[in-house]
């Protein structure tokens, strides 16, 4: 410690001290620029880029979007006129929208259930303390780092009528369907492709949670004669439930944002069977140039995300085991 710095430190400590305690000599006027104020100022400087960014790129667009949604705006025709709740009336009567919402719901529910159960299964398998599990962990996680579009392209290649998957099925004398051209198989395929791509993330979070479960609990349960299943459902599941909540919130929110996989694999088809909300928004705003209607669809998406997050958060008391 240099003497100079030491002296400065002492002065600052003295200043802070003066600031905190009522001064005994009223004639000593403290300057407005106190160390506390300087510290606040530093705090504001630290958060300035992030807060300015959030105001410009989140708050301002949200406000603009609310305004756009009240206007009829066709970019191609160059028309922009106030229509009040016109776009929301269109939203309520849009014949395509129920199908879009149904597709979004099927995708989200299928994705979340399949993703979380597969992630938990993989995490439990990896947690068995077998030799070589690091290799398996690496393999299960690897699709996470593969470029999303590259991943979707390969699967589109594999899922074609004469693609790799049907070729393997043919070798087993099974006639495979044209996966991406049938409504049910298309939706299933999109879900499976997305789960295999991202399940590694949740798997790793579950694995970390499993490793934090105290071993004594299992030993005590064994002494009491509890079976492996009882141990799993009575000890493991309650203790990792906070992680289940975290992963389900992340996965639900992510499932509503799916776009690239749909665009590459099915383009929303066949028909509109895989047209999820974000894809529909993209079509309306950037393919058909209905910006006003696109904005009201975005408001709907925002409402759904908000409602689902709130629902999960308020339901947590019912099923998340709380340590405190």
């Amino acid at each position: 410690m240099t003497p100079d710095r030491y002296r400065r430190g002492l002065e600052e400590a003295q200043l802070a001290h003066d600031h905190l305690l009522p001064s005994t000599s009223p004639d000593v006027r403290r300057s407005w620029w106190t160390p506390a104020r300087r510290d606040h100022f530093t705090g504001y400087l630290f958060i300035l880029p992030q807060i300015a960014g959030l105001i410009v790129f989140v708050l301002a667009p949200l406000a603009l979007m609310a305004w756009y949604s009240l206007n009829e705006w066709n970019v191609l025709a160059g028309t922009f006129s106030f229509v009040g709740i016109g776009n929301y009336e269109k939203l309520a009567t849009d014949p395509a929208l129920p199908g879009v919402l149904w597709a979004s719901a099927c995708f989200s529910v299928g994705l979340v259930l399949f993703n979380l159960s597969l992630a938990l299964l993989l995490a439990v398998l990896l947690n068995q303390k077998l030799a070589g599990t690091v290799v398996f962990r690496t393999i299960f996680f690897s699709p996470v780092v593969v470029s999303l579009v590259a991943w979707a392209i390969v699967w589109r290649f594999l899922l074609q009528q004469d693609g790799g998957i049907n070729a393997v099925l043919r070798m087993l004398s099974i006639d495979g369907p044209n996966w991406l051209r049938g409504p049910t198989t298309a939706m299933t395929s999109v879900i499976v492709v997305q789960v295999v791509k991202n399940v590694g993330l949740n798997m790793v979070l579950f694995l970390a949670a499993l490793q934090n479960v105290p071993q004594e609990l299992y030993e005590a349960a064994r002494v009491d004669g509890a079976s492996r299943w009882t141990q799993f459902f009575r000890i493991t599941v309650p203790l990792i439930s906070p992680t289940v909540l975290l992963t389900s919130i992340i996965t639900v929110a992510g499932s509503l944002q799916v776009f690239a996989q749909i665009a590459v694999l099915t383009e929303g088809g066949p028909g509109t069977s895989t047209t999820v909300l974000v894809y529909y928004l993209y079509q309306q705003a950037f393919q058909f140039h209905f910006f006003g209607y696109g904005a009201s669809l975005a408001m709907l998406l925002l409402l759904i995300v908000g409602a689902l997050t709130y629902l999960q958060w308020s339901l947590r008391k019912a099923w998340v085991y709380d340590n405190d």
Partner: protein, 279 residues
Amino acid sequence: MINSRSRLAIALYALMAVLCIPFLFPTWWMITSSFKPVSEIFAFPPTLLPRQFVTDAYGRVFELQPFARQYFNSLYIAAAVTAGTLAFSSLAGYAFARIRFPGANLLFMLVLTGLLIPSEVTIVPLFQMFLDVGAINTHWPLILVPMLGAPSALQTFIMRQFFSGLPHELEDAARIDGLGRFAIYRRIALPLAKPALAAVGIFTFLYSWNLYLEPIVFLSSPDKFTLPQALTQFVDAYGGPMWNIQLAAASLTAIPVLVVFVIAQKQFIEGLAYTGLKG
């Protein structure tokens, strides 16, 4: 005589091996098919390794599009987003964790708002804003929005959680030594935050690297394209994909990141688990 314990182990290995197939096979199929001649790509029975090894598709990737330029675009955009996010989110995260300034709670609510709003929601007004300032068909929207907008809120949140968990003692000692806030952040807090920074950096990079909706909305000329967008452009006159070329381009996109991942998989996975638990 095999006891029940090793029978269980064999069953578990078999199950894991079967489960590996959907995770490994697509990558394998992508790489091997990109070296097959067009006639062999859809041959039946399928060949696990190319019977005839050709590299024509890789040459075509660079002839049909400015692929090297597009590769560079994706790399530099992801690098810029990652560097900016690391700097700004660690600064903001540190301030929210350690400095008590008026309005901190209200401003942190803003971060939480950003956390909950998917960036897809604001794509229409963002497009209009960037159009107004003449930044359409430039890389600015792809750099600025992920670095400072809604996607960066999660990173600030993670950094704040991490800094909140660090012990105060070291910083208190440094303050008595007369170090200012910035010096404490730079010389004491940041070096301790390496695992969190690694995780935030890796996932910011992958986020930017994977972006697809934003580039197709904001960019229109092929020399500006990013990789995900370029991959879908290898189509014939009828709009059908030119499979061997698309797969070659996809392999070129995926393999470098996979190699880095396999080398550094410990940091990738454990960094994520660590921050995930904290967050």
